[in-house]
Symmetry: C2
Subunit: 420 residues, 2 copies
């Protein structure tokens, strides 16, 4: 017996009941959670203020404080995200395929919940609600292991969720917060074979590495994004510059931001001055020799450096863009498949052959033509919310919505068949 065994046990029992709920019942329970969070708004804000004060006096950086802090508008956004999940189709008990064998056996592949999920995440309290809502709609129980910095916020939010579930005819035990604050908790979760069906780490590189290295239960790796934009000679130059600016500047700390621009030799002299103008005063450029030369006269305020080879493998997560000149589509694809993290990659081109070859050969969760890679996101894909962005190939890939929390069961209907 460890400190979490009673939670594992009650989550498993609750999941077995939740699995049998209709969409109607699950949606009603989620609507009741929306109301409960709205009612608990002042309590949540007070708890969050306590967390923020504690974090600030503990020396947390303001950028991280910003991720932790809630205000009434953010709470409204969190509540609204539940509504988008309510509006999604039920992912459970869908027939994915079905056929009849020559002996008359009728075989169907039916979607069922994955079971009990655990999410280990850092500061942001909105993850608490998003992860719970997706799990509940998918018929999964969920163990939430937030950061100690957000402990009071998460406790108050989870209390409101459970209250909403109880009032709305839902199953309150289908959600639990692991809140002892001890690091041992993470190890217990990572070793809970037979009790936890998937662990989702969501946070910085260090957390994800620790989880992936130590887990004995299935893990979905998320988040690391060394993403590229490759620009071909046929691309619309003005459009390309706009996409590059968006992919780099709109949210540089996100995993789907661009880290390296690959520019074809033939258009470097046309594109690079535009890129330099757009990013001057806003981001640092780390250019190879040819792309640097292609800029020509350096615009005022441009922070221009020489790239070195280590830049190609770096996820800056900052106002920094590496730039490399390539001689061919093949060179661009090879570079991406060598240095990329299989997250989001884009080609800007008007050439159909190039687009097809890029989308076929680049090994990544999301491969774009002529759009900003910042769209790699559950909300932008229409999933309502996301559990994270999977950078692995196994089980789930790309933005994870409800489908990532399902598996299948074969239902075989016979009339007395025996195997000859």
């Amino acid at each position: 017996m460890n400190s979490l065994d009673h939670l594992f046990d009650s989550l498993k029992k609750a999941q077995a009941r939740l699995e049998l709920q209709t969409r109607h019942a699950k949606d009603n329970a989620l609507r009741s959670v929306m109301a409960a969070l709205d009612n608990a708004r002042e309590d949540i804000l007070a708890a969050n203020r306590a967390d923020v004060e504690r974090a600030r006096s503990g020396g947390m950086k303001e950028a991280l404080i910003d991720r932790l802090a809630l205000d009434s508008g953010r709470i409204t956004g969190i509540i609204d995200s539940i509504d988008t999940i309510i509006r999604q189709e039920d992912p459970i008990q869908k027939v994915k395929a079905g056929w009849t064998m020559p002996n008359g056996l009728f075989i169907e592949q039916i979607t069922v919940p994955l079971g009990v999920a655990a999410i280990i995440y850092e500061s942001r309290p909105n993850v608490t609600v998003d992860a719970f809502s997706l799990a509940y709609k998918a018929g999964c129980a969920i163990l939430l292991r937030g950061s100690s910095a957000a402990l009071e916020s998460n406790r108050t939010i989870v209390r409101a969720i459970k209250d909403g579930l109880s009032r709305g005819g839902g199953i309150a035990d289908a959600v639990a917060l692991a809140d002892s604050g001890s690091r041992d908790e993470i190890d217990i979760i990572l070793n809970a074979r037979g009790k936890i069906d998937v662990v989702l780490p969501r946070g910085g590189k260090e957390l994800i590495r620790r989880v992936v290295e130590n887990a004995r239960v299935p893990v979905i790796e998320t988040g690391e994004g060394n993403c590229h934009i490759y620009v071909e000679p046929s691309a619309d130059i003005g459009n390309a510059a706009g996409i590059i600016e968006n992919a780099k500047l709109q949210k540089p700390g996100a995993c789907n931001a661009a880290e390296t621009l690959l520019v074809r030799r033939e258009i470097a002299a046309d594109l690079m001055p535009l890129v330099a103008q757009r990013l001057a005063g806003k981001a640092q450029l780390r250019c190879d020799e040819r792309s640097k030369a292609a800029i020509g006269s350096v615009p005022a305020g441009l922070d221009l450096r020489d790239a070195d080879d280590s830049d190609w493998g770096t996820e800056f997560l900052d106002y920094t863009l590496a730039v490399k000149t390539v001689d061919s589509l093949d060179e661009a694809i090879t570079h991406i498949n060598t240095y990329g993290t299989k997250h989001s990659e884009a080609i800007l081109t008007k050439n159909l052959d190039s687009a097809g070859e890029f989308q076929r050969r680049v090994d990544a969760a999301c491969v774009y033509t002529n759009a900003s890679i910042r769209f790699t996101d559950g909300g932008e894909f229409g999933f309502g919310a996301e559990l994270g962005i999977s950078t692995q190939k196994f089980h789930a890939r790309g933005p994870m919505g409800l489908e990532a929390l399902t598996t299948i069961k074969y239902r075989i209907s016979g009339s007395g068949q025996i195997r000859p």
Copy 2:
């Protein structure tokens, strides 16, 4: 650098090329492999004789020798299984879903190969060909790690496969045999993060446990089957006895054989005498008190024992059937979800409500009504062959054919969209 790094590297490169092959090209290469195996028939038989002699003089049990030994008929069967895989649809570059977002982004979910697979398996040389053929058709490269007992057989078979691929315009480097015979090889494979995309252990409980416990790469757990047949009062008794006999006796060493019979109190006195007759002289019955009493006069030759609680959790893999009397559908489902291994479970009933509740609540890869559970098999499901039967919920479940070796990629087509 370890001893397998050159293989990992050439498999990865070969897989990138194989991924781009058309179905036509892959099927032609597989047809050429069929011819090459046919040509190598005498060499394979000679190599297999050497393996069998070595195994026998090493004291291997005859039941295991039988799994290792090939004859010309078995080789024909192995070659024919390639043909059934050729006839399967290409699992790659299928559009699983597609939609357009309000901003005009067109998003498609496309199937792509999982990448490089590794299979770690015991004696049977047919697995060498089945695993290779499924992987090749799915666009995956495969590393084969057979048992040292089958080393000469596997070497000769893999040589023929590579020869067939070369002659048939295929990619010979997409298959490799790890043949040093050292146990270190397994540990290297289990730790090959970024080089191997999935490991499939196929063999005894001990092998699977070792792989699952130690792997740092994704694993699909296979094989353990503590499977049940539950008989309701409404079932056709004669039919039920036939299904029970088939599920227990047709191949008791298979993971999809029945281990425990759950019989409803109301029909125990009707069913048990028939079951006792069918199994007398063929299998041992381990009965609880009520099912034992229900047999009445014990038929000649029946090996009848008292069940103890440890029998409910035992996969006998033998001519042994545990029997328990239950008072309700709920008791049967609870028993199965407590002791089962989530493999294959059946209800025999004419009652629609019971069938629905059983199929919904039993947590297993394959849930049957009114048929023998021995049908849980890639061939019997129409998949041509199988990589094994997954008993996990993550990524693949039940008999694994081509689909288990695929993942998805999102293809996003834009016209200049940036994220606001």
